[in-house]
């Protein structure tokens, strides 16, 4: 039965959500317009609020409907069929909700309504103008999932997630036979995304995106209602919260990449990564200018510009990643859903409207006639904000190259520009210097901010500078750092830690609540030091010294022969030396669902196209039996783990299990690393090439050998000896009865440094002959006991050979990467502290404002506590 009700309800609710958002925009706009009577605007406001709550209810209904469809496996719906499947563990059905474009828009819409409700409840005085902006954004966002075709014009607005499969793919031949056809199972979630980070990373990132709307709305509201300065106080805690959430979201993505992708790092300067990083940089700059904007009019102008720019950049990045512009430039941008036009309208509307409003009000914004002193707090914060913006500008200027091509195309010229060939080098070249300067400014700025340094007391900076230089010099000498840019970066980072640390120490003794800024800065500096070492001093350890892999091609024996060998080949069970380690590839393993650890692949038989496997033996892990032979158990059928044993010079052994996924959605085989984490470095290992673990081996033509006992023969260049033929009672897969006879041959195969014993069996049962061959994966060989000749006493064996299993793997050392993760935590803690403090500040102010006739004028109430 096709469940049409829930889909129709969902679609209807989207339409309701859209309409209520449009009307709420209008109503809030009316309520916010000056000139109308208080009573009139109150009526409009109440009406608008009711509409917004209706909108909230509709959005929650849409979310519920889509989740209901996915959670109940209604595969008659295209969205559920495309993004989920029966085999998906519950946790990941949540991720399939936002795997596709429509769902991720819905996630964004959802966060916006949550934030909108909080704003209405906490801030009545700003409600009308702020919520007008909010509702307008919601109108645009819901229009993206509207899925309505305007008749006559043939104009499609939005793409709804509630389409039936039949509506999306009406030409499937199956519908001719059975119009009510419902697929038994869905296509499932991309296995690469079946990772706990992918459950929490997208909601965090989208919450980050959603929160950037708040400072923007306040800025617009401030311009609109001419409360030119007052908007900063309520906007500031939200900006800090937004920067924290967006930052955490970005870092989660980076960490996921580090754990799951095999480019060997956490940051690839991919356009999609950049497009969320740039708004974050600008937002951080905005926070800094907002902190001084309460006193300095020049900073006020900048704050308006930056708060607006942050949100516009979020829109711009949405446009870039979803319109298909980046299609050939980025690995993971969405494909075009036909929404690019709509996205462009959205982007241009907000850009033009906000710039227009800003220009319109520009003359009435206060400006500072006084010179800004080089020794003032403001000056240093300005420098910091400028550097952040320039850094963001550089990133966006390069990332937008595909956009320039499109624009040129629109004007009829061909630009043919491509992204820099060495992207990482290109970005690092700039960002390294920007961030060196930024970290230095965080230290100097803090000194000026807390009045520890000033026009005539620069000497207070000497001590931290001296200390930083000493520490940096020690590290440089000890670690043997030679690159001038790394020396600069390290010194800058150490200086920032020392200077901010000293400030922190001082504040902490006074009022620890004010120390958020210093803590955050220390976090940034630590992150920078961690990035410097883990990326700049990445060491490939899988240098092949075996001498076995000398390429015959001329090309390769020339020039860069040596440096380039950064992968090594491992044959099954054959130890190979790599640096200090002795490596042995032991096994391929599969991942069971309800049993800890991984099981050898040979223990189970995977049922094709299903998530079950049949146990080929009793499954005993750590002394506990989970399944008996012949049982069916649940596994993750896409995942294979390569058991690589590392033997350290000390004799200690550890195993790493890099993963390979059979992932048709990603074009074939996807490899993920496994990481040996130590305090001072990570050892990062991934297999870059494997023989497809699901493919049947291709066997050579059968070769027959007829030999006597103790005879020697040659198979596949190995020496084989038939040691004996003995009677046996047990043959795998055959139940022996009374009067049956079975023998097995014991054949020894000599490899260079190891002997293998292969025992094919020969069974006579009910006057029928059964031959059970034995396969040795280590040797790539299959031997079948073919015949026994009683007359001559000779035995015949059939031998097939195949390519021996091998893997090509790479191992990298990442020194001091833990400093990066530690810095992240410090950064987040700092942001939380600052957010809490600014929020308290705002609440205190709001409550005082709300108290009528408090006796004091508003202007004098400003709390003059300076902190950052």
């Amino acid at each position: 039965m096709i469940h049409t009700t829930i889909g129709s309800a969902g679609h209807l609710l989207v339409i309701i959500a859209f309409v209520t958002a449009v009307v709420a925009t209008f109503a809030y706009f009316k309520a916010g317009i000056a000139g109308s009577t208080v009573e009139e605007s109150q009526t409009w406001k109440r009406f608008a609020r009711t509409l917004f709550y209706l909108h909230v209810a509709a959005v929650l209904g849409v979310v519920f409907s889509l989740y209901w469809i996915i959670g109940n496996h209604y595969f008659e719906y295209h969205y559920a069929w495309k993004n989920s499947s029966l085999s998906l563990p519950t946790g990941y059905t949540i991720s399939s909700f936002w795997q596709d474009q429509e769902g991720s828009f819905l996630l964004w819409i959802f966060w916006n309504v949550v934030l909108g409700c909080i704003l209405i409840l906490t801030n009545r005085s700003w409600e009308a103008p702020v919520m007008a902006v909010f509702a307008l954004v919601q109108a645009f966002l819901t229009s993206m999932i509207l899925g309505v075709v305007i008749p006559g014009l043939d104009l499609k607005i939005g793409s709804t997630p509630f389409l039936l499969l039949k509506e999306v793919m009406p030409d499937l031949p199956v519908y001719a036979m059975d119009p009510n056809f419902i697929p038994k199972d869905g296509k499932g979630l991309n296995p690469l995304l079946q990772n706990y980070w992918m459950v929490i990373h997208p909601p965090t990132l989208f919450l980050g995106f959603a929160t950037t709307l708040i400072p923007f709305s306040f800025a617009i509201a401030g311009l609109w209602t001419k409360k030119i300065q007052d908007w900063v106080r309520p906007a500031l805690p939200w900006s800090l919260l937004s920067a924290m959430i967006l930052g955490v979201g970005i870092l989660m993505g980076a960490y996921w990449a580090y754990e799951t992708l095999n480019f060997g790092g956490y940051w690839n300067w991919d356009p999609v990564e950049n497009s969320s990083f740039v708004p974050w940089l600008v937002l951080v700059a905005a926070i800094h200018t907002m902190i001084i904007a309460r006193k300095n009019p020049t900073a006020l102008k900048t704050s308006f510009i930056l708060a607006i720019a942050t949100f516009i950049l979020v829109l711009y990045s949405t446009f870039m990643t979803r319109s298909g512009v980046l299609g050939s430039a980025s690995v993971h941008s969405f494909t075009d859903l036909g929404l690019s036009g709509q996205l462009l309208v959205y982007l241009l509307t907000f850009t033009l409207a906000s710039i227009g409003l800003l220009v319109y009000r520009w003359k009435s914004l206060p400006s500072d006639e006084e010179e800004v002193s080089t020794y003032s707090q403001e000056f240093w914060i300005f420098i910091g904000a400028t550097l952040l913006c320039l850094s963001g500008f550089q990133i966006i200027a390069t990332t937008s190259i595909p956009v320039y091509n499109k624009i040129a195309e629109a004007f009829g010229t061909v630009l043919n520009m491509a992204l820099p060939a060495d992207q990482i080098g290109h970005y690092n070249k700039f960002q390294l210097w920007f961030f060196s300067l930024i970290t230095i400014v965080t230290g100097v700025g803090q000194y000026f901010w807390w009045k520890r340094a000033g026009k005539d007391k620069l000497q207070s900076l000497y001590n931290p500078l001296l200390l930083a230089l000493l520490i940096a010099a020690a590290i440089i000498t000890y670690q043997g750092i030679r690159d001038i840019q790394y020396i600069v970066l390290l010194t800058a980072g150490v200086f920032a830690v020392v200077a901010n640390g000293s400030i922190l120490f001082d504040i902490f003794r006074g009022n620890y609540k004010l120390s958020g800024g210093a803590v955050t800065h220390i976090g940034v500096a630590l992150m920078l030091i961690g990035i410097l070492f883990s990326s700049g001093y990445t060491k490939v350890v899988s240098i092949n010294n075996s001498g076995l892999m000398i390429s015959r091609s001329d090309e390769f024996t020339k020039d860069d022969n040596k440096e380039n060998k950064e992968n090594i080949t491992l044959w099954l069970n054959k130890p190979e030396k790599m640096g200090d380690y002795m490596l042995t590839w032991r096994d391929v393993r599969v991942e069971p669902r309800h049993i800890p650890g991984y099981l050898p692949k040979s223990w189970v038989d995977i049922i094709e196209g299903d998530y079950h496997a049949v146990a080929l033996r009793d499954i005993v892990v750590d002394g506990k039996q989970y399944n008996a032979k012949g049982d069916t158990l649940e596994i993750f059928p896409e995942n294979f783990y390569y058991d690589i044993e590392y033997r350290e010079p000390s004799g200690r052994i550890f195993n790493l299990f890099p993963r390979v996924q059979i992932n048709p959605a990603m074009g074939g085989i996807v490899s993920s690393p496994d990481i040996q984490r130590k305090v001072n470095k990570d050892l990062y290992t991934y297999v870059s090439m494997v023989t497809n673990p699901t493919a049947e081996p291709v066997w050579s033509q059968t070769e027959s050998f007829t030999v006597n006992l103790r005879d020697t023969f040659f198979v596949n260049d190995y020496v084989a000896i038939l040691d004996n033929v003995v009677r046996t009672e047990q043959v795998e897969g055959v139940t022996l009865g009374e009067g049956d006879a079975a023998v097995k041959a014991i054949i020894r195969v000599l490899d260079k440094d190891k002997e293998y014993v292969i025992t094919p069996s020969f069974v006579i049962r009910n006057r029928m002959v059964a031959r059970k061959p034995e396969v040795s994966n280590d040797l790539g060989m299959r031997i079948q006991f073919q015949e026994i000749n009683p007359q001559t006493g000779q035995f015949t064996f059939n031998v097939n050979t195949t390519q021996r299993d091998f893997i090509v793997m790479k191992a990298i050392e990442k020194p001091l990467i833990n400093v990066l993760w530690m810095g992240t935590f410090v950064l987040v803690i700092g942001f939380i502290m600052a957010t809490v403090r600014r929020f308290r500040d705002f609440v205190k102010m709001r409550n005082k404002e709300n108290k009528p006739a408090g006796g004091k004028s508003k202007g004098k109430m400003r709390v003059e506590v300076a902190d950052l």
Binding site: K82, K187, F263, T298, G327, S328, S330, V331, T335, E371, V372, T374, F382, T386, L390, F393, Q394, A397, T398, I401, N416, M417, A418, L419, P420, A421, D422, H426, F430, V540, M549, I550, S551, R552, S553, E555, F556, D560, E563, N564, K565, E566, N567, I568, T569, P664, A665, M666, G667, G668, I669, V670, S671, S688, M689, F806, V808
Partner: protein, 144 residues
């Protein structure tokens, strides 16, 4: 002149510097004929070339050599650019897993001794999930 104006001028100067430098670093899409000309002129800039794999009548890829047992970091194939010019491409890294399935290939690198040495391979593979959409994957050779 006020300090803020000097400051503004410096920012504008840096921004222009960034734009100029970006334009300088930006690569271009060319064909193999142009790539050879550039190599002859001693132009060592990295370039993007878009092409298709050389296939025989039955769809098998021709002139592709990868022998991991001899050297896992050496892979060569022949690419035919949009002007139907054939060129041997050398990629000093492991063969990308999904290479055989790719339809369109973008190689990033430069001509060296008669062969195009690719630092990076971008591939577009027909997606199994949707015939109309293509997916892109990217592979980078280790720094030499």
């Amino acid at each position: 002149m006020k300090k803020i104006q000097i400051f503004g001028l410096i920012i504008i100067a840096v921004a222009i510097g960034i734009i100029v430098s970006t334009a300088g670093d930006a690569s271009t899409y060319v064909d193999f004929t142009k790539a050879r000309e550039m190599a002859q002129d001693g132009d060592a800039e990295s370039i993007h070339v878009v092409g298709k794999l050389k296939k025989d009548g039955s769809g098998q890829i021709m002139d592709m050599v990868y022998q991991p047992e001899l050297d896992p970091n050496f892979f060569t194939f022949t690419l035919v650019d949009n002007e139907n010019v054939e060129q041997k491409v050398v990629y000093k890294n492991t063969k990308p897993q999904d290479f055989d399935k790719s339809e369109q290939v973008v190689v990033v690198g430069k001509m060296k001794n008669g062969a195009f040495v690719a630092d990076k391979i971008l591939m577009k593979c027909p997606s199994k999930y949707d015939d109309t959409k293509m997916e892109t994957t990217e592979h980078t050779a280790a720094k030499s």
